[in-house]
Structures are given as C-alpha cells and as structure tokens.
Amino acid sequence: MNSSQEYQEKSGETRKFLRALILTALGAALLVVSINYRVDRYYVFHAQEEPFMEFLEPNMRVLKTNYLETHCSRFDAVIFGSSRAAAIRTDDVNNAFGVAAYNFGVATGNLPGVLARLEWLDASGCMPKTIILPLSIDRLHFTGRPNDLLRKEHPAIVGDPAYAREFLLSYLGVDAFFSNLKKLMDQLISRPEPRFRYDPRSGDVEYLWDRELKLEACPDSSSRTDEVTIGIFVDYLQRIESRVRESGSRMVLLWNPIPVGDQLAHLDDARALFGRLQGTEQLIYRLPPGDARLFDSDQYHDLGHYKPDLAAAVFAAPQNRVPLRQLLNELQALQNQCDAQNDSH
C-alpha cells in the first residue's frame, strides 16, 4: 500500500465513500421497491375484487388467474383468446350455450397461452366442460410469449420456480419503477381517462375507447403468412383439441368478427389454415361475411376490437355454426365480387 492509499484509508475518505455508497444504494433500492409495490400500475401485488373496476393498464393475466385460482368451481365454461375475446360478454355466452362461463381472454392472448392455461386448469382440477376458443385469421403469427410488464404471464401458469422469482422481481425493478412514476404523475397532473372497465367475477372487460374508423369492403392488399408459421399455429390448435378431448370436454370455435376487408386480406391464410386442419368439415361459429354489421364502423372500438353486441350476434343463431369449407366459400365469393369490381374499374 503506497502513502496516498494509506492516507486515504486513514483519513476516512474511503470510509465516507463506502458509507455514502451503501446508504444511497439502500435508499434508492428501498424507494424503487416501495413505490413499485404501493403504486402497482399493473395490479400484480394488489388483486382487486370490487365489481367493475376502472383501469388504465391492468395485467389481465394476473387478475384473471388470481380470481380463477380461488373461484374456478363456479364455472363450467371458459372463454379463451385475446383482448378481442375479452369483450365477449359472459351473460351472452351463458344464454346461448346454457353454461356458466368465465372470460379468460387476455391482451395478446395466443394459442400457446391457451394451452398453458388449459394445462393449469386441468392440473388444478378445474378443467371446464366447455372451452370457447375464438380464432383470429390476422394473428396466426402470434405464437411467442409476450414478455413486457403489461402482458407477463402469471407464474402459476408458467409453473417454473425460477420464473416466479423473476416475475416478482421484474415488477419491483427499474422498468416498473418508471412506469409507476408515470402513473403517479398521471394521477397528479394529466388524469387520463380509464381505458377498461373490468368485472373480476366474470372476467368481462368493457373497452372505454372508440377510434374513428373507415372500413373498406375490399382489401387494398393481401398478406400471406409463411407455411412454417401456419404449421406452428396448427400444431398448437391440435394440441389444444386433443387436450380438450382427453378431458371429456367440448370445444367451440368462434371466427372473430373482424371487419370483412381484413378477413379478405387474409383469405390465402384462411385457405392454408383450413387445409391443414383435420378436414374442412369442422364446425365454427361465424357471422356470414356478407352481414352488414361487418362493414359498419359503429360495431368496432378499433380495427381489431369488435363490440360485445357484434360478438353476441356470432353465436346467437344456431345457423351461424357452419363447416370451415362453407366459411371459406363465403369468403371466396366476396373476394370474387371485389375482384370483379376491381376489373370493372
């Protein structure tokens, strides 16, 4: 140790440095953790059970799983799917199918997520008798696990102890801290309007936004998903089907009533998907593609999110349940009309 080092250590400079370092680090860590826990923007630490709470950004995976963990015996049907499905009213489903349904639709929900939830429900002794599964033809490529704070999966569903630790730590970490600070600032200054109304007893979500829309009857362009991606999607769908069958439950497929223009833009994908499924005789609830409501912007919150009345219309009439082949033919007929229009122009 040279003389300068000795001087620094003896004069207490290093001691002062270490004291300041430790105190600042502990203070900052405590501040981050306590604000994250208290503010809890995504409602991870404070599951709420009051009816029809209004939220800015709840993590629906956490809220809904928490509720089902303790109340699953009340339900014999579960609606899966994405934020689109989250807007399906359970009362409408109950009336149409004579069941007691829970809406397990979550933001960016996808087939791997549905399979994981089914496995969790089965392992918990809560396998529902009826599984309602909406399909979105424009979301075939959504087969990964979303990992941002808003959409992180509940640890009970993932079932990995390492993930459970990481899950909680991420909501106590720096990203969550800035997000929670924003919520504090919002509360103090801008006071934004809530975006959701949520009923934990049914899982129903009501969206409180509406965007101005101009719906086109015919698509400007078409898009095609590659075969590998479609293969992954089909594989998950078949795994879900066999899981349901093994449990003695039944699966009801719904064709999400997105605007017709968007359905037609993915006609090639629909053809490829149905071709890979076990025969095109499989039945699915759909709203006939010519139905005027599919062209009406008042039926939608935005391009992807339909309103509950439109969802209810899909399964309100038994004749809306048709083979995949018929749905494909109906879409093709509409596309032919669009092609004819384009040719005449």
Binding site: R15, F17, T24, A28, A29
Partner: protein
C-alpha cells in the same frame, strides 16, 4: 454463472470475497488461493459440472508440460509440440469438429454425421492462455511457478469465461504479493466502481439496444425485404450492442479482479473512435490482438520478411482470428475482410511514407473522413459476423446499400418537390419507410444516437478511472485521448452517490439475465 445475475452479485461474490480475505488475514496464503480456485471452479461448474473434469485435466496436463519445458531435459521441443497439438486438438474437437464434417459433407456430397458436441464454456480462452504459457516456458521466459498459483492463473473467475486473455507474466507474480491478501477498501472501491460501470453498460445499454438488432437480423435471415432505414437501424444497433456488451463484460472482469487486489489487462480502449482499421485492432479485444500478434503473427515472420510476406501473415492471422470467434464460414469471411483491410491500411501507410507524408500530421478533415470510412467498414463487417448465413448477411447488406430500393418518409415530399420523378427513376421512393414494423424506430434511432455519442465523445472507463491505474495498459496505438474537462473519479461522497445510483439502476434492470455475446466464442 453470469456476472449480471442476482446470485452472482448478492451471494457468490460476497461469500468469495469474505472467505478470501478472512483466510488471507490469518496469513494462510496458500489456503486463500485454494479457496479462490475452488470458488472459481464452482463458478465454472455452475453452467455444466460435467466440464469441470475437462478444465482440471487441461490444467494438470499443461502444468506438467510446463515443468518439463522449464527444465533442461532432452525432449523439450517434442513436449512443446505435443502440448500445443493436444491443446489445439481439444479445441478443434469441441469447437470445430461439426463444422469440419459439415463442410466436408457439403463439398463432397457425403453424409457423415457427428453427434452434437456441446462447446465447453471458455475453452477458447483457457486454451489460448495455456498455449502462451507453454510457448514462453519453452523460450525460457517462465519462472518456476507454484501449482496453486498456476491453477488460479487459469481459473481466476473474473477472466475465466470471456477474458481478458491474461498472460502468465502479468498474473502469476501478483499472486505472490502479500498485499493482495489484506482487504483494501481502496481496491474494493475502485473495483466496485469499474464493475458497476460495466454492469450498467451491459444490462442497460447493450441489452437495451439489442431489441432493435435481433428482429432485423431475424427478418434478414428469413429473406424478408428490408427498408434501408430498418437495415441500418439493425446493423448500427448490433454494432453498439456487441461493443457495450463485450466492453461492459471486460470492465466487470477488471473491476472484480481489482476487488481482490488483482489487476487485469485492458481489453477495450474506445475502439469506435478509431480512425483506421489498424487502430481499431489496437483498441478492440486488445488481449486477443496481443495473443495473435505474439504467438501467431510474429512467429510467422511478422513484417521481417518484406511487405508481401507481411500481408500474407496478416491475412493468415486474421483468418484464424475470425475462425477463433466461431465455427462458421461467416466468421472466416469476417476475419478475411479485416485481414484485407489491415493489409490495405498498411499498404496505404507505406505509400504515404514513400511519398514523404508524415502519418501523424493528418488533417482534421482527413481524420474525420478516415474515421467515418472505418466506422462504416466495422458496421458492415459486423453484419457478416452476426448473421447466421451468407444469405441473411447479403440480404441485410443489400438493403443497407439501397439495393432493395430507398424509401424515404412521405413527410419529405414537400421538400423534394420536382426532384421526385428523377429520384423515382433512380429507385428512391416516398412512402412507408419502415414497412415491416420490426421495432419502434423513432425510439430506436434516439437510442442509437445516444449510444453513438457515448462511444464517440465520452471518455471510457479507464479514462474516468485514470488516477487509480485500473488495468494494465495493453494499448500500443496513438496516445489515449484525454478529457481534461470530464471529472475524474475520486474517492468522494459525490462519486459514491453516482456509482450507487448506476448500480441500483443496473441491478433493478436484471429482470432476466442474458448471456454475454462473447460466451459463445
């Protein structure tokens, strides 16, 4: 075990430090070294205990050969050859066997098959360190070293996994110093500060920018046409990711070593500030450059046998340097490109000298132009380095060069006015300039700009810590740029607050540990 994990920071490191200094305080230096070796092996075995045997056998074998080489026996040369061949054979089997078989199959149309061989962690690093030891023992440049010290030289956990590639001359004498066995608050503070700066660079900067690189390279690999904006965004993001990732790792290693009173060699010295490719290699992964220079380039003849042989030696060195990074032809091409650039750079310098120019008297404009060219070359070659296939690399490089059309934002239409038809004729269109929506590029380019500013304009860790001799200076290029206006680190409460906040920020961002890019090499 990763440096950027909770278990390492809050359990392994404190226990290892406490054990080492508690034992050292009682003057049991051999036991303290044994403790550090045991902890280092535990650190290594955390990944896959099965490979502990491999590193132990490698240590025993090389130490034994070193003893033979250090003596006066008759079989010294044969022992050296056996030692080097066996080391390279081990590396070759684990790292290159599948690559070799795949290449043979492709060329000859055969269908040989090897089972999957898992690459043992750090094998490239500890193999190189020990080859250097053997060569120096044969040259008579090693002294008699204690076996425990030798074990620690190879396994010392801060440098074990991804370097810096340490040299026995700079490590082994340090283990014999009494002073390292006494806890020094000053060394701990300096080490912790460097570690925290490295952790921040890795977790916040490198991992933060990676979300803009990965989808672009994924799309390029899938053959998706990319816009020029996306292509440059992805390529710049990866260049910055690998720089902050690896230099952050090196900082962490240097800081950890210093906590034990051990100094490690400098591995990065602001390489993106280099104004030519020769300087880049004096600043990037400096300990690898040093190894390749001392144990490959110079033994090949270096520059002693005329310019032509020098360029050939450079190419051989860089080709093997490329292959060292990974068993793939993309790495070989990356090495070849750098070898060619180095040869051209040396040729250019020779030509200027022949014309009577003084290289150190470049103009500011000349340096700027040269720096820009060098940077573009580095970014372009890192595309080949990162890509999984030549197809993916070419797709991205083609998009970067405007080969897939140049689409500018529609907002520019007013400014371009009547130029638009002419631009359209030459493939420059207005429209949706990021058609694939791979990332939020408004955020991405802000982040890229900020990191470029840090890489180009800010002092590096060694410059901030320059009053505390943070590392052995392996830099051989032009004098380091100093920043008199930038405050130097000092042992003061103000700096303690800054370092504590950086540390908490980085630790609070460790939601899921990611691996260091250089683990794979």
């Amino acid at each position: 075990m990763l440096f950027n994990s909770y278990i390492f920071i809050f359990l392994f490191l404190p226990v290892t430090l406490a054990g080492f200094f508690l034992i050292g305080k009682r003057q049991h230096h051999r036991v303290a070294i044994a403790w550090l070796v045991a902890c280092s092996l535990f650190f290594y075995g955390w990944w896959n205990p099965a490979y502990l045997g491999l590193i132990l056998v490698s240590i025993l074998f090389n130490y034994a050969i070193g003893v033979v080489l250090g003596g006066q026996g008759p079989h010294r040369k044969a022992s050296l050859v056996a030692g080097v061949v066996l080391n390279l054979g081990l590396l070759g089997y684990f790292k290159y066997a599948n690559f070799f078989v795949d290449t043979v199959n492709e060329v000859t149309g055969t269908d040989f098959h090897l089972s999957v061989i898992v690459l043992p962690l750090a094998i490239s690093f500890f193999t190189f360190q020990q080859i250097a030891y053997l060569v120096d023992a044969w040259r008579g440049e090693t002294r008699e070293y204690n076996f425990l010290h030798y074990c620690l030289f190879v396994t010392f956990f801060p440098q074990l996994i991804a370097g810096p590639i340490v040299h026995h001359r700079e490590m082994l004498p340090q283990f014999a110093r009494d002073v390292i066995y006494r806890f020094s608050q000053r060394d701990f503070i300096v080490g912790f500060t460097i570690f925290s700066l490295g952790l921040f660079k890795k977790v916040v900067l490198a991992d933060g920018i990676s979300v803009f690189a990965n989808p672009v390279f994924g799309a390029a690999e899938a053959g998706i046409p990319l816009s020029i904006i996306e292509a440059w965004g992805g390529a710049l993001a990866y260049t910055l990711q690998i720089y902050f990732d690896f230099s952050g790792y090196s900082d962490m290693a240097i800081g950890l070593g210093r906590m034990f009173g051990i100094r490690l060699p400098l591995n990065f010295h602001s390489p993106l500030k280099a104004v030519n490719i020769i300087e880049f290699w004096h600043r990037w992964h400096m300990t690898l450059s040093r190894f390749l220079r001392d144990y490959l380039y110079i033994p090949l003849g270096g520059n002693r046998r005329g310019p032509r042989r020098r360029y050939i030696n450079l190419m051989i060195t860089m080709l093997l340097g490329g292959l060292w990074h990974g068993a793939g032809w993309t790495f070989v091409v990356w090495g070849a490109a750098h070898g060619l650039a180095l040869a051209l750079n040396h040729g250019w310098h020779a030509a200027r000298r022949a014309m009577g120019h003084r290289l150190e008297q470049s103009t500011r404009g000349g340096r700027l132009l040269s720096g820009a060219l060098t940077f573009v070359f580095i970014v372009a070659t890192f595309v080949v380095f990162r890509a999984e296939s030549f197809g993916g690399a070419m797709n991205l490089l083609s998009a970067m060069s405007g080969g897939q059309g140049v689409i500018l934002p529609e907002g520019l239409s007013g400014m371009l006015g009547s130029l638009q038809p002419w631009l359209a004729q030459h493939g420059v269109m207005l429209g949706e300039h990021v058609p694939n929506r791979l990332a939020s590029w408004s955020d991405g380019f802000k982040f890229i700009f900020m990191l470029l500013l840090i890489a180009w304009a800010a002092p590096n860790t060694q410059q901030i810590m320059r009053d505390f001799d943070p590392a052995f200076d392996t830099y051989r290029g032009a004098p380091a740029i100093h920043f008199p206006a930038f405050p130097r680190f000092s042992i003061s409460p103000g700096w303690a607050v800054i370092i504590a906040l950086l540390f908490v920020y980085a630790v609070g961002s460790l939601t899921r540990a990611s691996e260091f890019l250089y683990f794979q090499f």
